[in-house]
Amino acid sequence: MSNALILLMGFGFWGAAWGLNIAVAGSAFGRTRTGRIFMPLLFGLTLLVLWEALVRALGVPPVILPAPSAIAAKFASSTDVLWADFVQTAVKGALSGFVIGCSAAFVTAILCDRVPFLRAGLLPIGNFVAALPIVGLAPILVMWFGFGWQSKAAVVVAMVFFPMLINVVAGLQASERMQRDLMATWGASYTQALWKLRLPAAMPFIFNGLKISASLALIGAIVAEYFGSPVVGMGFRISTAVGVLNIELVWAEIAVAALAGSALYGVIAIVERGVTFWHPSQRG
């Protein structure tokens, strides 16, 4: 096929898909659950087709941008490497750090809630620290905890702690004065009020914190690997593969990172839907 024809087909597909999406958006099907999933999927597919067509038609060298088909082929042929990297970085580094960091933040938030003095002192600091580039701690923590996954988990803990903390503290304030007074008139103890009223009311905030932390966790684990790692891991693989211009492998690794990040986010979103079914943002 000539290049012009490939290009034409690519843009043709784009136009057709766009038209179909407009039609779906205006139809009754667009309001169903399937329709809401169908439209972004078609858009994503369009991007891939356009990418493939452009790379093929314009003869873009694979060193700059490999075609999606080439990346998929690389992905399929190196699943064992990708899996080992995924376990090292996403499971050992990011997930363990995510769990430790979020639990620590949760405990600290409860502590802040019990001791108003601590809240008044720690919260403004936490708000400020949450905006700092904590990722810069990576070289120091790698120096402390070595090249293994422990240092990656430590970076993740440092990154997710403060965003999580401020969200949980804000969430614990979310129940209304009247509701808390009602609990008091029923003679509820602190723990009872916490379990029955304030933690459920805090859930939208807690899940917001978890979502923010989920994307930070993978960033932290990958950045930490740029400062030293064993010869396995997503960050390690990316930096070495870039060095030898094995660009397809880099993109396959990026695809793994994207899948891992989206999966973690998706799991949190699904649990959120189950837990905070009463919240306006989950209804309708």
Binding site: W18, N21, I22, V24, A25, G26, G30, R36, M39, P40, L42, F43, G44, P61, V63, I64, L65, F117, L118, A120, G121, P124, I125, F128, A131, L132, P133, V135, G136, L137, A138, P139, I140, V142, M143, W144, A214, S215, L218, I219, I222, V223, Y226, F227, G235, I238, S239, V242, L245, I247, V250, W251, E253, I254, A257, A258, G261, S262, L264, Y265
Partner: protein, 288 residues
């Protein structure tokens, strides 16, 4: 005083904790040295020895402050050793990414609010884009920019920074542009306002509080993005490059000084955005 009292107390506690940790972590080195030369170390000797090492595991706060001060004042600000010089490089990258992020976020938000099909098909991808760790793509962006003949790291850094900073702007602007309620929209319709007029006179002003609220998050995100863009190998300028340099040459003080310089930069940026927000609020007639 009632409000800053607890903050100072917590800060002082953190500082004390830091000193204790510094003594504890640096003690190993002191003991090793003493054992090698066959002398006993008392606690009174240990503390000053742990406080003044060239390559401490954890430098005590005053050592970091001294290094920071040295980095700012000890040489001309155009020197490659000056933290002001590197801070300015990072600041420039942050601003470029911030501006790009605002443009992208506002533009996309306008398209999403105007066209239902964009909302339905693009918005989910905007959310997914944030779950993809940008740092995985960062080295890739550098390579591609290099292959395309773009010299230096300004452009790739700005792209990485805008990737992180466009999202908060987008989410807030979508919310803000949809903030006017049906009654207000109907009123403009009865006045025969065109779509452009409705946008200019109702939707845009209504979205401003949301816009400014998102800017603080966006500027912090842009700074993180810029520093991440400076981290992968090869960077020579910027605060991120200083952190990397300190790590590679085993000079933890350089890393710590760069880390605190970036924290100060972040604080200044957030403060500046807050100031702009307040000025804009006054200008638009919002009463506090």
């Amino acid at each position: 005083m009632r409000r800053v009292g607890p903050i100072f107390a917590v800060l002082a506690a953190l500082l004390a904790l830091w000193y204790l940790a510094a003594i504890w972590m640096n003690a190993t080195w002191v003991y090793d040295q003493a054992q090698r030369s066959g002398v006993e170390v008392t606690l009174a000797e240990l503390i000053p020895a742990a406080m003044a090492q060239d390559r401490p595991l954890l430098p005590p706060p005053h050592q970091v402050a001294a290094k920071l001060w040295e980095g700012v004042t000890a040489q001309a600000i155009t020197s490659k050793r000056s933290l002001i010089y590197h801070g300015f490089i990072t600041f420039r990258g942050t601003m470029a990414g911030f501006a790009l992020g605002i443009l992208l976020g506002v533009g996309l938000a306008m398209a999403i609010v105007r066209f239902r099909v964009v909302d339905k098909s693009v918005m989910p991808w905007a959310i997914i884009s944030q779950t993809i760790p940008i740092v995985a793509i960062a080295p890739m962006i550098l390579v591609v920019a290099n292959q395309l003949g773009i010299q230096g790291r300004e452009v790739p850094k700005a792209i990485i920074a805008s990737y992180l900073s466009f999202f908060p702007v987008l989410v807030s602007m979508v919310k803000g542009l949809r903030a006017p309620d049906q009654m207000q929209l109907d009123l403009l319709k009865t006045w025969g306002a065109s779509e452009g007029e409705t946008f200019r006179k109702l939707r845009l002003p209504a979205s401003m509080p949301y816009f400014f609220a998102s800017l603080k998050v966006a500027v912090a995100a842009a700074l993180v993005g810029t520093i991440v863009g400076e981290l992968p190998t090869g960077a020579v300028e910027g605060l991120g490059a200083r952190m990397l340099l300190g790590s590679q040459y085993g000079e933890p003080l350089i890393t710590w000084a760069a880390l605190f310089a970036s924290a100060i930069l972040a604080g200044a940026l957030i403060l500046a955005v807050g100031l702009v927000e307040r000025l804009a609020a006054v200008k638009m007639g919002v009463r506090a």
